[in-house]
């Protein structure tokens, strides 16, 4: 199998996601970055699964759970962003500095 290529792709996606999470100002873009990171993990899992050929396809099962949790998490995230948008009329993450970090 051509495992390294998949791992490199996943690592690149993950780094892109971390970058987006830390740099992007728009809250919706931050959510997209999160999705990117979780997708990278899924690529890893499925690639390892394909390379290892384990008996019960655990890697793919794991990926299915990650997909579900990712959907739930983005649901929560969008709900939070909507709630904030109603109060502030803005989805700019930088404006949330009421409390010092």
């Amino acid at each position: 199998m051509i495992l390294p290529q998949f791992l490199i792709l996943a690592a690149a996606l993950f780094s892109l996601g971390v970058y987006g999470l830390l740099v992007r100002r728009n809250a919706v873009m931050v959510l997209l970055a999160v999705e990117l990171m979780l997708a990278a993990v899924n690529i890893n899992l499925v690639a390892f699964e394909a390379a290892l050929r384990t008996s019960q396809a655990v890697g793919q099962v794991f990926a299915i759970f990650v997909i579900t949790v990712a959907a739930a998490e983005v649901g929560i995230g969008l709900a939070i962003v909507l709630m904030i948008f109603r109060n502030r009329q803005s989805a700019n993450v930088d404006e949330f500095d009421l409390m010092k970090w």
Partner: protein, 494 residues
Amino acid sequence: MQIDWLAIAPEIVVAVTILGVLAADLVLPRPLKYWTATLAVVGLTLAVVPLILMAASSVETRSLFEGSYVVDDFALVLKGLFLIAGYLVVLMSVSYIESDRYYQGEYYLLLLSSVLGSLVIASARDLIVLFIGVELTTGPLFMLAGWRKGDIRSNEASLKFFILGVLSTAILLWGMAMLYGVSGEVRFDQIRSALADPSPAAQPLVGLAILFVLVGFAFKVSAVPFHFWAPDTYEGAPTPVTAYLSVSSKAAGFVALFVTVYVALRDRVDIWGPGLWALAALSMTIGNLAALRQSNIVRLLAYSSIAQAGFMLVPFAAASVAGEQLAEGLAATVVYLVIYALMNLGAFAVVIQGARRTGTGDIDGWAGLGRIDPRLGVLAAVFFFSLAGIPPLAGWFAKFVMFRAAIAAGSAAATSLAVIAAINAVIALYYYARVAKVVWFDEAPAGAEPATEPPAASLALTLGIAAVATVVVGVFPAVFAVFGEATRVLLASG
């Protein structure tokens, strides 16, 4: 399919309660919504029954789903802790939520979901199950932190918690995927045997996987240097939720971390041992130094809980850098965890009632509270001195167990960690005692009258349970040591 139903009965009871609370919220008219809280309390109480049955039975370890889900004494003790902590937080929340104008059903639904997640964590011996448990614990908390929808601070708390929470989830998952990649297994016992003798080419990957897992969990337990979200989230979230965050969710994160490193990665203690050492030392020191400068009581408790997390890690970290007596270290850590949970919940109940009496969260605003409301003043002194570790309160026993285990571990690194912990214990005394000093020795503001109305019954119950537990454990630690011993013996065999 053969399933030991008794072993998963607590989870089933809580899950059914969740569905029941949702259904009750669906059909009950507005004035009867308080029944959802009653349902939650009943459900959590019922869930304790199978735990007691299992503790009394002669079966020591119940293994389900081919070993992915294990109920041993370690799991039983922690499940008991999670249920009791959930119970106390629900009691604390009742009067708090009633005074708000938002719907109630969802609140208990989310809180119970989080409790269910932590119950799963205590038994998870499989990467997938553990991941589901961790997500079920933290997911609802993102929403609970933002419970006061109209309050911008609460919004901000929720957003910061969410962003760092999902970042930590992604990092943790990356580590888990790597672990799966190098071992080809997701079950902890199989991972352990696969990692016992990895090929040289896989060595760096193993190190990387452990690093990612460690960092992911460090975020979840808000250990320094991954703690930045905690003070802001604690300050902005509703106070009962903060209590839950600082106790149950932190404990769940710790349990997940311990189970992973102890069961699956025990043979690679050379990699994660120093990591735990650094986390413990940094958390204690930075948490304490930051707590010294806080003027808001909730922020003070936030940094104090970061420092306490460091103390908690000390016995296990000391044992792991020494490379021996891991089981003893873990047992001491679990004892500390349980005692911390009880006294910290009590401290937060005091904060809720104190904020209601004085109308402020500023420590200086609490001046003379001891004269306005003597009972609350006494309780404040009890919980804060217990957190500081002063005998004969429970916190003293926790600190004693911690130092004993750290010194027993023996090596130079372990002893130096104990020395750092000792210095920090002295620093911590200063800011805990300051609260007691303000409450008892500062002059009350002019015009303050002695309080007449008692606290809400549910909150008084919380305060009572936590106070009795704190004092009894402190005076008769032998009662409590039994739990620690049970943990130690069974984990050693597992």
